[in-house]
Symmetry: C2
Subunit: 317 residues, 2 copies
């Protein structure tokens, strides 16, 4: 007990595992570092999709059907924006809007992003520490066969249809990790790379100066977002394919290269265990699909147990 | 026909007469100049209550029960703001919010208020010209027995409970009339002071340099917002009383002093006709309570007929 955990997370899959971790790890022992590369300004509002998904999921307010936004949502605002001739491609729900409007107001008053997230967590009853990866703007840009697109243009407006050729994290080079991020990493017994999209959810976090090397210094374990060649949700598998890499847990482990000590894969991929181990990564095969809260807890427990075993092995070696 | 009309209007009562005028006056011949003294920033959004009431009323989207906001409104946003610990005293509906968010976005992008109003009117299908009295910030401040309050604090947050001692229109001295306002006034055959609150809806308009003298140069007719000693809605009667003046059409005419050639009063106040005429103001007594669209049209027609008669008398004299 008392194992210090840092989770790196993006959207839905990451948020689900984070919710599982939050159910079994004391608030003092878990820090969640969240991708901000998807953040953007829309209708003058500061929209932070991954942070919101993580906070809503931890507060049990998330919409489990859509994977984004709030449950029991209403859409009067968006309908009226449409009637005014405004943009409706990014679906802002009426309840969700309360977060965006409040946050935008606080930021304009000079509140820093870390404090904004802390205040929102307080208000939503989220007790574990959630940190944006950086307080500086980092923007994921997607190189495609149709030219470079901003992430939300690619992801939401274009529905991931363009063929991906690469990614660029604008502003990352000159960004700094949020206060608390590097400190949490240096104190971590395990760093968990959540089952979020490696290319667009985890890579932006690792692109913030200091974070990748801090992760490399710790025991790092990934949970594969790819199960039997497919992503549970989102374009991860499609992106691997377009980048010329057959999507699989091997592709995930290869993506993170020397960073990982271990990877948690789905039982459906158990046949890949040997190949993964040859590449130098320890493997735990368990059910990784998170349909229920129970699934989330079980995967969190399994991941932590795996990390404890790896930590013990390190001590023994 | 072709009588050029400028209407000065504030909230509900003014908006209703404006809707009546719009039904019987060609768009090329009617300009509505609206009070902006109630405007304020709330949750980082630019809220323009009187302009919105006028636009919603002209677009037939207004909530006739509340007198503010939109009909068929939903309240998910406000509920969620409350859950986040935010302010809920100013009731922002989900549909209404589309206007506030869009406007705030446009203003931040550098659009001028006159253009914002024109764009919103276009989108809402409002064909008559609506102008904010000024593009500069003018803020109505209410001196009360509890100290000076900003208008929305007095009006909404405190429900008009404090006793009024006076008013101040912050910024008015250094403000300019919006482009088009003085031009419309100088071309007007009649200026109609709508049945809005004289103290807090019409006075701020007259406080913008150049407007009062431009009105004084034209044939000006007021429609009394006081019927049988009471305001149809809002604190006009209470304010007259607190300012030491018994509320009546006489009080309204006295308030506007030398500005008026005529005043339209309700038949319930017909007994005051003599006293009003002694004070030098012509009078027309008609039904002035606007419950239905038909009432609005009838009052608009009666007011215009009265103005035509006064114009004829002037020519004859």
């Amino acid at each position: 007990m008392g194992m210090k955990v840092v989770a790196l997370a993006g959207g839905v899959g990451g948020a689900k595992l984070v919710a599982g971790l939050a159910a079994v790890v004391d608030p003092a022992d878990l820090t969640v570092v969240v991708n901000t590369g998807d953040d953007f300004e829309h209708l003058g509002l500061s929209i932070w999709p991954d942070l919101d998904t993580v906070m809503y999921t931890l507060a049990d307010l998330a919409n489990r059907e859509t994977g984004w936004g709030r449950r029991d949502e209403t859409w009067s605002f968006l309908t009226s924006v449409g009637e005014l001739g405004g943009p409706t491609w990014f679906r802002l729900g009426d309840k969700d809007l309360a977060l965006h409007v409040s946050r935008t107001d606080w930021l304009r008053q000079g509140m820093r992003p870390v404090e904004v997230v802390r205040k929102l967590c307080d208000r939503l009853g989220v007790r574990h520490r959630v940190l944006p990866m950086s307080q500086d703007p980092v923007r994921t840009m997607v190189a495609t066969n149709e030219g470079e697109l901003r992430f939300q243009e690619y992801f939401v407006a274009r529905g991931c249809q363009p063929t991906v050729q690469g990614f660029r994290f604008e502003g990352a080079d000159s960004s700094s990790a949020s206060p608390g991020v590097l400190e949490a990493l240096s104190a971590a017994d395990v760093v968990i790379l959540c089952p979020s999209n490696p290319w667009v959810s985890i890579d932006p976090i690792l692109a913030v100066p200091g974070i990748q090397s801090a992760v490399a210094d710790r025991l790092a374990v990934a949970v594969s977002p790819i199960i039997a060649g497919k992503a549970v949700r989102g374009p991860a598998a499609k992106i691997f394919q377009e980048m010329g890499i057959p999507p699989s847990p091997l592709a995930v482990a290869g993506h993170y290269r020397t960073l990982l000590r271990g990877i948690v894969i789905d039982r459906a991929d158990a046949a890949l265990q040997g190949a993964l181990e040859v590449s130098g990564v320890s493997v735990r095969a368990v059910p990784t699909l998170m349909r229920s809260s129970r699934d989330r807890h079980a995967l969190a427990e399994a991941t932590l147990a795996f990390a404890r075993d790896l930590a013990g092995a390190r001590v023994a070696s």
